[in-house]
């Protein structure tokens, strides 16, 4: 932290000091329930209530939405969210439950909504009182996102929505959904429009949310069915037919390449916490026996763990180099790698952990003898969520090949 602190502007330095003191004095009580690995697997209201209380406290203290203008409920600061994030992560706080809202909905609403709508939506998004979800994918529209068919038909100043969204994390708790809709069937890209839709108030009245169960056995994402849901035209973001462009703002932030820093907290140790890191992999290798010796003494295992460590450090150093323009040939080259690398490195590390674990890799969460409480299995299986969601690794490679290397477009 001292590294970052030494380069603070006066405003950042003062804010950092404030954050540090506030976090010291206002540590939330320890959770009484097991918290999942991330907000995307929140299953119970007990888990949600605990995490919402933390987000509200952090927002009220000015640690969330720091760089947004005061008029929309932000802190009106300049480049301070990064500072708050660093301090919250260093202090090992709980994570924020409104992850889709903070990371994707907030920047999209901020850049594309009318002022009145921003002022109404953003404060309760920042505070976590309103949980948000994202309605992009459909049964027939995955990697080819622009082929969404959920249709909004105009009726005066209202729209009537019919269709089916899938993989909708947090929809079971969400008040609001950002949604990509087809408003014109004759144009693929230009026939899309982008809305915010209140879904909780419409449950049973045009909106049905049904949980989808993940390969891990956890719930957390859903399918959402729209049956003649009526919404006001004032909930449309940007112009009619500009939905694809608005969606790009969402996706850029989702993949960690956007302008606005996402408020980020986390690091709290609890029964469910687990980090998919090379350091934890080494710990595992020290405790597991392989042919009568610690796995950490097997030269092949050591080599593969080092490969993962090198990838992990290389990724961290990419983040550092991304801020040195003189060492970049293309401004988006490193930023557009973030999502792909984070998900694939984590997948490789957890996959290797299960090999290192040997026979004990068969044990899952409910078994007292499972290494790290069975969390490596959970992390490995969940890693496929990361390499598939938010644009699969294959789509990420298309984007990098086309936007950065300038290769011919696949579509």
């Amino acid at each position: 932290m001292s590294d970052s602190a030494s380069k603070d502007s006066p405003e950042q330095a003062e804010f950092r000091e404030y954050c540090r003191t506030w976090l010291q004095d206002n540590r939330p009580p320890d959770p009484t329930v097991r918290l999942p690995l991330s907000a995307l697997e929140i299953m119970t209201t007990e888990q949600l209530t605990y995490l919402q209380a933390w987000q509200k406290a952090a927002y009220d203290a000015g640690l969330v939405g720091c760089d947004y203008p005061e008029a929309v409920g932000g802190g009106g600061r300049k480049d301070c969210q990064r500072v708050a994030n660093e301090e919250m992560l260093a202090a090992r706080m709980p994570y924020f439950p409104n992850i889709i809202g903070l990371g994707m909905a907030a920047p999209t609403v901020f850049y594309h909504a009318q002022d009145e709508l921003k002022q109404r939506l953003l404060p309760r998004l920042f505070s976590g009182e309103d949980i948000w979800c994202q309605g992009f994918s459909e049964p027939g529209a995955g990697s080819d996102l622009a082929s969404v068919q959920t249709f909004a038909e105009r009726r005066g100043d209202k729209w009537v929505i019919n269709g089916h969204k899938v993989w909708t994390s947090l929809a079971h708790f969400a008040e609001w959904m950002i949604i990509l809709l087809r408003t014109d069937k004759s144009h693929k890209y230009d026939g899309l429009s982008y809305f915010v839709v209140p879904i909780r108030s419409a449950l049973g009245k045009g909106v049905t949310v049904r949980p989808l169960i993940k390969i891990t056995g956890e719930t957390g994402f859903n399918e959402v069915i729209f049956d003649k849901l009526e919404v006001d035209d004032s909930y449309r973001l940007d112009e009619l037919g500009k939905g694809w462009q608005v969606a790009m703002t969402t996706l850029l932030h989702e993949r960690g390449a956007g302008e606005l820093q996402t408020p980020r907290s986390g690091g709290l140790k609890n029964k469910g916490s687990h980090a998919t890191t090379a350091a934890n992999l080494i710990e595992l290798a020290r405790t597991v026996q392989r042919d009568g010796h610690a796995a950490a003494d097997d030269p092949l295992i050591r080599d593969r763990i080092m490969q993962q460590l090198i990838r992990e450090v290389g990724f961290a150093q990419n983040q550092r180099r991304a801020r040195v323009p003189d060492l970049l040939d293309h401004p988006m080259r490193l930023l557009l790698q973030n999502k792909l690398l984070a998900s694939e490195i984590s997948q490789q590390t957890s996959e290797l952990a299960l090999e290192v674990a040997g026979a004990s890799a068969s044990l899952y969460l409910g078994d007292d003898n499972a290494p790290a409480g069975g969390q490596w299995n959970l992390a490995y299986m969940n890693s496929y969520g990361m390499t598939i969601a938010a644009g699969t690794s294959e789509v990420q490679r298309n984007i990098l090949g086309e936007r950065v290397l300038g290769l011919a477009k696949s579509k």
Binding site: I282, V313, G314, R397
Partner: protein
Amino acid sequence: MTQPDNFGFNEEAALLKSSARKFFADKFPTSTLHALVAGDHRPDRPSECLWDRSLWQQMVDLGWTMLAVPEASGGVGMPAVAVAGLVEELGRAAFPCPLLGTLSATYVLAACGAAGEQALAEIAAGSSAALAITNAAGSWSAGDTDVRFADGKLNGGAWYVQDARKVGRLLVSAHTDAGLGLFWVATDAPGVNVQADTIVDLTRDQAHISFTDVAAEQVSANGLAALGQAMPAVWTMLAADMVGAAEWQLQTTVEYVGTRQQFDRPLGFFQAVKHPLVDVMLQIDQAKSLVYNAACAIDCEPGRALQAAHMAKASASEAAAYASGRSVQLHGGIGFTWECFVHLYFKRQKHSQMLFGDAAWHRARLADIVIGPLAATAS
């Protein structure tokens, strides 16, 4: 000590890097390299030492060969991150010259204390040098040498000496009665016999050198310590060269698959071509970030330099291997011919991959640091 967030890569470093890129692009395009080194294609061609001495002299005159020499010894005293930027551009051009060897000798001499100052002054005055620290078995471990120093004379042999026929000086490691010593020897000194190796790489020369009663100036009585301190810089600079060469391989291949049409489309349209090229880019970027990380550690946090340099060289070796394979494969039939330039970089990279330790060698040493030494296991 803490590291600056920008690796310490300041305006001066950026200027050096961009002027180096322009220098090589203007004066030494790949067509010039090919014309210079690829005249004789016969697989059993005799060893040759083909290079552009006058361009090298221009580099010397620009002060590039003494960038790493401390100011106190008459050099520029540039930080390693700035030097790495220059070397990355050298690698991009695959320019045959003894810059890597001269820089390597510089870093070792700078770790030798007062006894190394005279030799450093010679480098500052324009001398070029090579490391002669490897034995006949090709061991990259410091201290494994087949040269012995006794009664004021060097005897024995040094192997895998890089660009030996281009340099005026050798930095030789030799066993002495008091441990490993380092010696500074002129390549034309009596008793020094430079025997050229016939190598695959057309952009370098390599030799094994025999020493017969060679009078030598000792620059260090504690060679293991000096090499231990300097090798991270040697590996990092070689890795920087490989990153630059890999970037050439990537850009050249991207350009080709954008032009070449099959099935009525440019090759780059096909994901079987597009995705491997993205993977080449990912590997280059990882290696490049690790190179500047290692260089910054050398400058600002020497305690972390060893780990960081192992990572940089391991990563660069992997990236070079992958970029090389893809550059030939994705050029298709033409990529398999002597007339297509990609083979020059393919061969340079293959050489660089193994030089001073391949990826697995560096990872094994990294593991010793990070996990702890391999426990002696009874088999």
